[in-house]
């Protein structure tokens, strides 16, 4: 399992695309949107920062799905999946080995973007334990969905398109781009069925209201539930994915 994790991490370190999606683009978006909205006097600066920084962190964590889809489809089509399946490595270790590097990248992404918020915009961090827990669960959720998507889709393009729908659609409907209060009631209701909404709720409770683990337990539970759904889909999709593998 660790062999797969190490190799995958080595490959990712050499992948410039992932650095762009994970760190550079989110920073551009955060800076851009804070600059645009700070010109309007409707929000307090701290409220603006605690809306935009976690909002874009949540949105961009889902972009890891693109990298996961590309990696898995490439391995499937090159025959590498079948080759690894011919070794004694059990299925669960293969999936965990493949998943861990992406989880690590998303955790790093959250840390870097949070630090950027703290250093540049004085983002208040709140309870570190609560922040760590929600960050870990968000990373678990995004990567487990990425894994499920990678094993389900037939083509790379389909995976990238669906990721855009999940990341951008979820961001828009989940209130990551603008406060939900200014959206219609029907939209606010839809938001409650999306993990992005619950992630933002959790982050804002910690960053804005000084909430602790017990204050965000519902968000944690719902995000964990969404993440588990991704894991279950992955396990059930793997045999079909393996059948599609070359060689």
């Amino acid at each position: 399992m660790w062999a797969i994790t190490i190799v995958e991490l080595k490959k990712k370190l050499q992948d410039k695309g992932i650095w762009f999606w994970t760190f550079i683009l989110p920073i551009i978006f955060i800076v851009g949107f804070i600059t645009i909205f700070s010109g309007m006097n409707e929000m307090e600066p701290e409220q603006l920062v605690t809306q935009i920084v976690p909002g874009y962190i949540i949105m961009f964590t889902f972009f890891i799905m693109i990298s996961m889809v590309i990696t898995f489809i490439k391995d499937r089509d090159s025959g590498m999946v079948a080759r690894v399946a011919s070794t004694p490595l059990p299925l669960n270790r293969f999936l965990v080995g493949k998943w861990l590097p992406f989880l690590i990248i998303v955790i790093l992404q959250i840390i870097v973007l949070m630090l950027f918020g703290v250093l540049v915009y004085d983002l208040p961090l709140g309870d570190p334990l609560a922040l760590m827990l929600i960050s870990l669960i968000l990373a678990f959720l995004a990567t487990s969905w990425g894994m499920a998507m990678s094993l389900l889709v037939n083509t790379e393009n389909m995976g990238i398109a669906l990721t855009q729908v999940i990341a951008l659609g979820g961001a828009m409907l989940g209130g990551l781009w603008m406060p939900l209060e200014i959206m219609p009631n029907s939209m606010q209701l839809i938001a409650k069925f999306l993990p992005q909404y619950w992630a933002l709720e959790g982050f804002q409770s910690i960053l804005q209201d000084g909430g602790h683990v017990m204050d965000i337990w519902l968000s944690l539970l719902i995000l964990l539930g969404f993440g588990m759904i991704g894991c279950v889909i992955s396990v059930f999709s793997y045999p079909r994915f393996l059948r599609q593998s070359r060689s």
Partner: protein
């Protein structure tokens, strides 16, 4: 012994394998031949535990592929048709990667890597990235990754596709080494002359069915018939038909007869008396490819 017991596999309405049954002796080199799409790769994938849903069973050294999949995988080295290497890594890192997947570690793994690099002739390229390798070097490393854990059974699926004669020769030498070390080898190919050269038993597969199998000697003896090829000025089909069934070819005639040596003697005598000086007078044996064609009506190269 590898005991294949009534293996069948369907993909929807397509029957990829249909009740395949045969045995392979321990330590032998078995050639599985057939055109592309015949079912060779499907069989290989079942044997190495990649395809899990199929009818029948395969016993590999007395262990069922269905019931002891993980155990069976540990003593099989699978060389897939595609080159499955991590392109961004060096040859050594690739070997390290696959060695760990087979449960090797520490000094034993490092020692095996040195030995395998030597076996595949890539010791001096150990720290080069795969992207700098030729097709033949990649093929050799592909095999190296499968033999690191010293498997009792090595399964090679079309290992010589698209490589130069030197690399092909090197791969044959490697297979010879494996045979000498006592490994059982299953070699799938649609290059019949390769199979004839390196295998001591053979199975013909076509449209999912095993149409013939046995030791190379047995199969060749059972189906091989000799003929005489004649190319000479001043002699035609009519004269040659006296010796046997004569078929006109582009550059001469093929005469099929029961006793080709005796017939050839008679021909030589007649040519001498008639003052005919043949350009070519050859005794030719049917090759494995001819036998496959005779049994299946399928020309391998047309599909390959």
């Amino acid at each position: 012994m590898i005991d294949v017991r009534g293996v069948s596999k369907s993909y929807g309405s397509v029957q990829a394998l249909n009740d395949i049954q045969f045995q392979i002796d321990e330590g032998s080199c078995f050639g599985l031949v057939g055109p592309n799409g015949a079912g060779k790769s499907t069989f290989m994938k079942i044997l190495v535990g990649v395809l899990q849903k199929f009818d029948g069973d395969i016993q590999v050294f007395n262990k069922s592929v269905k019931q002891n999949r993980q155990a069976v995988k540990s003593f099989i080295g699978y060389v897939p048709q595609d080159i499955c290497l991590e392109e961004l890594l060096t040859a050594k890192d690739n070997l390290m990667y696959f060695g760990r997947l087979y449960g090797l570690s520490g000094e034993h793994l490092r020692k095996r890597i040195r030995t395998v690099l030597d076996q595949i002739g890539l010791s001096d390229k150990a720290n080069q990235k795969i992207t700098e390798f030729s097709g033949g070097m990649k093929r050799r490393l592909n095999i190296g990754c499968a033999i690191l854990h010293e498997p009792s059974l090595v399964v090679l699926d079309e290992p010589t596709v698209g490589i130069d004669p030197q690399s092909r020769h090197s791969i044959f030498a490697l297979i010879q080494q494996l045979k000498e070390m006592g490994s059982t080898v299953i070699y799938s190919s649609h290059y019949m002359e390769e199979v004839e050269q390196i295998c001591n038993s053979v199975g013909f597969i076509d449209k999912g069915k095993l149409v013939e199998h046995g030791t190379m000697k047995h199969v060749l003896h059972k189906h091989r018939s000799a003929s005489i090829f004649v190319s000479a000025d001043g002699i035609g089909k009519e004269e040659l038909s006296l010796y046997g069934d004569t078929i006109e070819k582009k550059t001469g005639f093929t005469v099929n007869c029961d006793d080709p040596l005796l017939t050839m003697g008679k021909m030589i005598e007649q040519f001498r008396q008639s003052g005919i000086n043949p350009e070519r007078l050859e005794l030719s044996q049917a090759r494995l490819e001819d036998i496959f064609f005779y049994l299946t009506g399928t020309q391998l190269r047309d599909n390959g």
